[in-house]
Symmetry: C2
Subunit: 356 residues, 2 copies
């Protein structure tokens, strides 16, 4: 039976990425070695990194002077690296509190300086993205989480900011065009729209660095990674290779304009069904809904387990909602095509027929 | 033409690991999903982590109360994590300086407290492991690098230490039995004897933690990773899976006693040829020679490039020595069988016939 992978992350990847990486694990480009066995100092891997960086720059239209890094440690390590490099002991950083990951980022920043939460949607269990907040102009930076994987909300606008704007885009990067020049630093764990878990993409304007006094461990120092083109230490070779394959696929698919069109259509199909279907209701305010993670609840709570069982039998994987929200969550990243979303919608319709 | 992979790391992996991971990238255990797409909170992945931890404990005979972690960020991140967690601002840690990686570990430790280098072999370009040094009993810990990948020396003895003994075993873990109970903490980047780059194995006695006053970023806090069984954040799922496959292979091969026998035989074959062959000479003192990384120089320096070209044409990969030593380096990790070493020896003999 065909499986439809709605996992929140690690999550569905393009078949292209799976086919290419499988082949490269067997043998990389007829060099007689597996991609798992090549030296990170080999010309083969240098070309992979260089080409992957070039594709990130091309696809996201990254400004010329920005750096693109592939680092280990996950986005969770960035929660610490950002303030380690950018927040002086006596400075204040502003954060927008839109969910659990934003809260984790805030927690780490507090180890290094002061944190000013400019707005929070915690009053309504993060079911909306706050608006009309004011970021103090003396903030060291302003940090946002563009997509809240757990709560299913998304900040679809590139904000104007008078202080360096920093974004955790782990779960929506590459899902739509972004004006990278408005951001001082973007980071994203790969395991949603890019590749397997184990590598984190960092895009930054190097002008923001070197402005505070603090001894920084080498592995947490952006300047060192920039100087070494992501090769200060042995990088996660395989995860970078797989990400490179997804970048190739993204380009072949028509890039981010095309991705955005498909993602809008997929999200509309699913949200429309949630609104129409008497068995389900959405959790997030309409103008804050995520195109990546669609959260919804059963109108009859006693049928929650029943729907999960029903959907699982039809091949749906990973639709159980996060415990912070309950109900259901369908993550419909780039690699999920509209047929997959239609399969879920069909499943919801059939469930309604049986239980309404 | 068959390739013989003598890369220093990332390096040769068992064919078993390559076959199994290739299959799992296509589909993991008939679950309809690739190993790259499964949730790190899925029962499938939980079993992979649990089984991998159990195999590490079994193969290395890890004491019951120790923790086994799979972390991201590489051994280079451990250079900072160790002092971050264990070295108070006014305390002193002792380090044995046996090569470039030990030096990097020392550099990071200096950010957190005082460092006492108990002995160094830098006077002779790290061609030996110092002996008869004294570790002050008030050291917060004593750090050693058991195998020096770049310089080809190895500390084959499990030292007795009155202070917590910490070892970077990145390039010789699983190559021989080790008395883990003598160590307070062992860490090892996977990309030599375990798996692909992107995951680091940490084995530690939790009793050493919580003894200093310092705010530690969550991702750098061993206590947090222990509490979450390596799943505090999204771990490098694929790299852990591949490592698990190598652990299965290790066990099937007869474990560490068998590995040590094979590694002794392989190293003897190659070092004997280096001693016999008029074209080559070793770089490391006999009692400090590494069984993993065999460094040797041409007796006629003008033939260095010629031998690399000659060996490359015969399928040898990665035998160029590190720039700090020059000449040649053959890394003969667990997955390199004696036939591969014999192929290199044959190549050296043939080269001698042509040039002596």
């Amino acid at each position: 039976m065909k499986k439809y992978n709605f996992n929140a992350g690690p999550s569905i990847l393009p078949q292209y990425t799976l086919d290419k990486t499988c082949k490269a694990v067997k043998e990389l480009d007829n060099i007689g070695l597996s991609v798992l066995e090549i030296s990170h100092r080999s010309k083969e891997f240098q070309k992979i990194v260089d080409d992957a960086v070039a594709l990130v720059k091309e696809i996201l239209k990254v400004p010329e002077n920005y750096n693109v890094l592939f680092l280990g440690g996950g986005a969770s390590l960035q929660f610490s690296m950002v303030p380690y490099n950018l927040l002086g002991d006596n400075q204040t950083a502003s954060y927008l509190e839109t969910g659990a990951w934003a809260q984790k980022a805030i927690k780490e920043a507090k180890l290094f300086g002061n944190v000013n939460v400019v707005a929070s949607s915690s009053d309504k269990n993060f079911t909306y993205i706050p608006k009309n907040f004011k970021v103090p102009e003396d903030s060291a930076y302003f940090h946002v989480t563009t997509n809240n994987t757990i709560f299913g909300s998304e900040l679809l606008e590139d904000l104007d900011s008078k202080v360096p704007l920093i974004a955790d885009m782990s779960s929506d990067i590459f899902s739509r065009p972004v004006d990278v020049s408005k951001y001082a630093l973007i980071y994203a764990g790969a395991q949603k729209n890019l590749g397997p878990a184990g590598v984190t993409l960092v895009i930054l304007n190097p002008d923001i660095l070197g402005k505070i006094e603090r001894k920084i461990p080498s592995m947490l120092d952006y300047k060192i990674h920039i100087k070494n083109n992501s090769l200060y230490n042995t990088p996660p070779v395989f995860a970078i290779y797989a990400s490179f394959m997804t970048l190739q696929w993204l380009k072949e698919q028509g890039g981010l304009e095309e991705m955005e069109k498909k993602n809008i259509a997929k999200a509309k199909l699913l949200y429309d069904e949630i609104e129409r279907n008497s068995m389900f209701c959405g959790t997030v305010e309409k103008d804050s809904r995520s195109r990546m993670n669609v959260c919804f609840l059963p109108t009859k709570p006693e049928l929650e387990q029943e729907f999960i069982k029903f959907a699982t039998e039809k091949g749906m994987v990973g639709i159980k909602g996060h415990r912070s929200v309950g109900g259901f969550r369908a993550s419909i990243y780039n690699a999920m095509d509209i047929e997959g979303v239609q399969a879920l919608v069909d499943c919801m319709k059939e469930f309604e027929k049986q239980h309404a």
